[in-house]
């Protein structure tokens, strides 16, 4: 069953097509990555789904309801951790629930503990490292009550080692929770490692250029990154991406 269904949406900024006739379905419990070059309209797509922008054409449907320009229908994890500096980790994690009404402190504490941040529950964001802040931000998104989580290049500001760490961590947490996730990235390896399905976005105007269902079994381990299968997939998608970048330029 599809949780999120984006039907034929288009968006223009000052007569420039940024998104044109884009269609996308995300199914219950699925991890879908959107892969595209920088400036390909990924952030615009998220702003449309998040309801900050209104599409010029088309509809966005979440669980059977139209959510065009309706904010707060999806849970969101931005590129920067965006934690409120005057709130402790626990208070920050509860923010998503707070905005929607009900707070569940014990569940929040449980999640913080599972994330390995138990001793930081009452610390302020400035006392945390970059990776820890992103973990807190992800837990906040997980705890928010909405049926789908949007992740907007959440690891792009982290260094390579922390990044891999975070990917493994995200995978382990997610495989235990199986929330529906829409993930934006420009990192092919990251998309392959994490997702069930990869959607490739074309550059300006953005449409769906290609789609791949990734067959790797879960739970996935770090070793997967170096298996032949994985590398073959990487090569395949890479060539696809390349050919298509050449076409469009």
């Amino acid at each position: 069953m599809s949780v999120l269904s984006i039907q034929d949406i288009s968006k223009k900024f000052a007569d420039v097509d940024v998104i044109k006739h884009l269609n996308l379905q995300v199914n219950e419990g699925e991890f879908v990555s959107i892969l595209g070059p920088s400036g390909s309209g990924k952030s615009t797509l998220f702003s449309l789904i998040g309801g900050i922008l209104a599409p010029d054409e088309g509809t966005i449907i979440l669980q059977g309801k139209k959510i065009n320009s309706q904010t707060g229908a999806v849970s969101y994890m931005p590129q920067s951790p965006s934690l409120l500096p005057w709130r402790t980790v626990l208070q920050n994690v509860l923010l998503g629930q707070e905005l929607k009404g009900t707070k569940d402190t014990s569940k929040a504490l449980e999640m913080i503990e599972k994330a390995g941040l138990a001793e930081y529950a009452h610390s302020y964001p400035h006392e945390l490292s970059g990776g820890m802040k992103q973990r807190v931000s992800f837990i906040r998104a997980l705890l928010s009550p909405q049926p789908i989580i949007l992740l907007d290049e959440p690891f792009s500001a982290l260094d390579e080692l922390t990044r891999l760490d975070m990917q493994k961590w995200l995978l382990s947490i997610w495989e235990n929770n199986r929330r529906t996730v829409l993930f934006v990235t420009h990192n092919l390896e990251e998309a392959l490692f994490l997702s069930d399905r990869i959607v490739i976005l074309s550059n300006k105007p953005a449409t769906i250029a290609a789609e791949f269902v990734i067959p790797f079994t879960r739970p996935r381990k770090e070793e997967l990154l170096l298996e032949d299968d994985f590398l073959q997939w990487k090569r395949k998608i890479y060539y696809e991406l390349k050919s298509f970048m050449e076409q469009s330029s």
């Binding site: 920067s80 923010l95 929607k100 400035h126």
Partner: protein, 253 residues
């Protein structure tokens, strides 16, 4: 912390040196007391005259605190109003700045003519002096809300009032406190000026009486009392700030 204390000592030494030179100059040049009293004379007057002075001191403190509270309340109210209603801001902002160009000394007698000798004209004077720094600081603070955080809050479905109470107001707190510190020091000055409008007691009254009877030592007692009160007010605000803002704002991310 250690460094701060050291710096504090340095300014204390400078102050002592200043008083020492003052004392010496008065003694050597044999300046008459009504022209410039020595610090020791002022000190003696402060101690012996304290029982009668304390009444004035207390009444100024009360006036200052009430006026400060009123001024800050008004200042914050104006700031929030102007921030939430941009078209009002465009219309009113120039007048806010102009309001600070009115010479209070000239305005004060007018206020007496309009409102009599009661508490109202005094409150108007103090509010006029106190509200501006708070309004400007709060407006700046609201405006500087991190766009990343605002974007997140909007995506997460925050309503306008949630955006204000949960993000913009706490985000502006450090700025608001800078405004409060300035207002706190102004409020005592404002209180003293407002007492010139005709009050039964207060440092302002004491000061006018002293200067008209050539009790220069008492004038200096009043000046030092005003300084001390302003400092204490300032310190109180700093203390509240420390208690309230435990998180250090080292950039937001």
């Amino acid at each position: 912390m250690k460094k701060n204390r050291f710096k504090g000592w340095r300014s204390v030494i400078v102050l002592l040196l200043f008083f020492f030179i003052w004392e010496l100059a008065v003694k050597i040049a044999d300046i008459p007391e009504w022209l410039l009293p020595a610090p020791s004379t002022i000190m003696t007057e402060a101690i012996t005259g304290f029982p009668s002075f304390s009444e004035h001191l207390l009444s100024t403190i009360k006036l200052g605190i009430t006026g400060f509270a009123l001024g800050v309340g008004f200042g914050l109210f104006v700031a929030v109003l102007l921030y939430l209603l941009p078209f009002v801001r465009e219309a009113i902002y120039p007048f806010l700045i102009l309001s600070q160009n009115i010479p209070v000394i000239v305005l004060a007698p007018l206020l007496v003519i309009w409102f009599g000798f009661g508490i109202l004209p005094k409150m108007i004077v103090i509010t006029l002096v106190c509200f501006f720094p708070v309004t400007i600081a709060a407006l700046d603070g609201f405006k500087q809300t991190s766009p990343d955080l605002r974007h997140y809050m909007k995506m997460a479905g925050a309503t306008k009032s949630q955006l204000f109470w949960k993000l913009e107001l706490p985000h502006a707190l450090p700025s608001i406190f800078s405004g409060l510190k300035i207002s706190a020091t102004y409020s005592i000055m404002g209180a003293v000026i407002s007492e010139w409008l005709g009050a039964k007691s207060g440092i302002g009254v004491y000061m006018t009486l002293a200067s008209s009877s050539f009790r220069t030592d008492r004038v200096f007692v009043a000046i030092f009392a005003i300084m001390a009160l302003s400092l204490i007010f300032f310190a109180a605000i700093v203390l509240i700030e420390r208690l309230l803002i435990r998180w250090q704002s080292k950039g937001v991310d």
